[in-house]
């Protein structure tokens, strides 16, 4: 850490000095290149310990997954983003809509709140890189159909995020904005969405507003489908619809060593991931089962991820 020396001298020649030490955070590799940024999540209180654990064999995290409960929660936004700045990490931050429905946001009711949120982010991040989204995993967990989401009708989701993207970029021109979808949309099983079903949520015009389309990709809980299958189908969808932005994985943690390696291995080499990110899910969930949701040090995959991280940039 660099140190500055200050001094003050009086007419009699007596001098007092003061040393000021400050930190300089080296920015991570540019997100424009390959491989994409590699990172992790954790519960906020666990972060420093988990980061040290993942980096223990020489790897270096580049991004941090952050979850904010509402677009109006400026205190937590500032605190967690300042932590990213201090540690030289690129934030991948998602906000919940809070009191607003998707329709309300799409129709302009949250314009002031979103602009205020963007200014809060700007106050901490300045011109530093950041990935942002609103309402990651928009689909209802138990939705029998494929048109209803957490914030309302699926047709309002793309409208909502496209409007938010314009508002955010007006304040933060460097911000990358896009959806972080439910990974099962890309499943080859019956739960998966067709291209038309995805288009119900995001029209081509709305997709054109996004810098990336990410998803939280997990293996099927009965191990019948690895996360790599869904990730590959996600990439194929991008090709079919002509989306030229980046691909991203907001969460993944691997059912097995091969599942973990498959997900990160694909992200490391697929051109679809240029300028994107791939993030380990490393947040403890209270439920003991299923195994798939546990952090890697509880599933025996810690050394596997440590090696992936250590070798990420060669």
């Amino acid at each position: 850490m660099p140190t500055h020396q200050w001094a003050v001298t009086d007419q009699g020649g007596l001098t007092a000095t003061r040393s000021v030490t400050y930190a300089v955070a080296t920015p991570p590799p540019t997100s424009a290149g390959m491989p994409p940024l590699i990172g992790s999540s954790s519960r906020a209180g666990d972060w420093d310990e988990r980061k040290a654990m993942l980096e223990a064999t020489g790897g270096k995290l580049e991004a941090r997954r952050i979850f904010i409960g509402s677009i109006t929660d400026s205190a937590n936004t500032r605190s967690l983003l300042q932590s990213c700045v201090s540690q030289g990490l690129v934030p991948v931050i998602s906000f919940q809509p809070g009191a607003y429905s998707w329709a309300q946001i799409a129709n302009g009711a949250a314009d002031s709140a979103i602009t205020a949120m963007a200014n809060t982010v700007k106050g901490v991040m300045g011109t530093r890189p950041i990935y942002m989204t609103i309402n990651h995993e928009p689909d209802k967990q138990n939705d029998a159909g494929k048109t209803v989401g957490e914030g309302g009708d699926g047709a309002d989701f793309g409208r909502m995020l496209a409007r938010a993207a314009d508002l955010i970029r007006a304040v933060l021109p460097q911000a990358k904005v896009g959806p972080i979808l439910n990974g099962w949309w890309f499943s080859a099983q019956s739960r998966g969405f067709s291209d038309a079903e995805i288009a119900y949520w995001m029209t081509p015009a709305q997709l054109a507003k996004f810098d990336y389309v990410a998803a939280d990709h997990y293996a099927a809980l009965n191990e019948s489908e690895p996360s790599l299958t869904r990730i590959q189908r996600h990439a194929a969808w991008m090709g079919r619809v002509g989306f030229v932005g980046s691909m991203g994985i907001g969460e993944t943690n691997g059912w097995t060593p091969s599942d973990l390696a498959g997900a990160f291995g694909f992200a490391k080499t697929s051109e679809r991931f240029r300028g994107g990110f791939v993030l380990l899910w490393n947040s403890t969930v209270p439920n003991a089962t299923p195994t798939d949701w546990k952090p890697v040090h509880e599933t025996g995959l810690l050394d596997d991820f440590q090696e992936i991280l250590r070798a990420w940039r060669g």
């Binding site: 200050w6 003050v8 007596l14 700045v85 201090s86």
Partner: protein
């Protein structure tokens, strides 16, 4: 007259900077000493008679701040606090 050392406190606007970021430093200086400054005034009449009077006053010991290389003062005057700007 005893000469007591001055004091200096420096506060930076952030704890962490990116390379090349601007640093804004607030510098608080002080000195318990005062010094006596004597000024002499004179008046002369048309007959060249001169009357002089000396006026003495105590002023705070003037202080000079030496910053790290590259810092420039952005506040006006030499009082306290002062604002300086540099680069991380």
């Amino acid at each position: 007259m005893p000469n007591t050392a001055p004091s200096i406190t420096v506060i930076y606007d952030k704890t962490t900077y990116a390379p090349g970021d601007r640093i804004i430093a607030t510098v608080v200086i002080g000195d318990p000493d005062t010094r006596t400054v004597t000024e002499t005034w004179a008046v002369k009449d048309s007959a060249d008679n001169v009357t002089e009077v000396s006026v003495s006053k105590n002023v705070v010991d003037p202080l000079t701040v030496t910053p790290p290389t590259g810092f420039v003062k952005t506040s006006v005057g030499n009082g306290s606090p002062q604002t300086w700007q540099g680069t991380a």
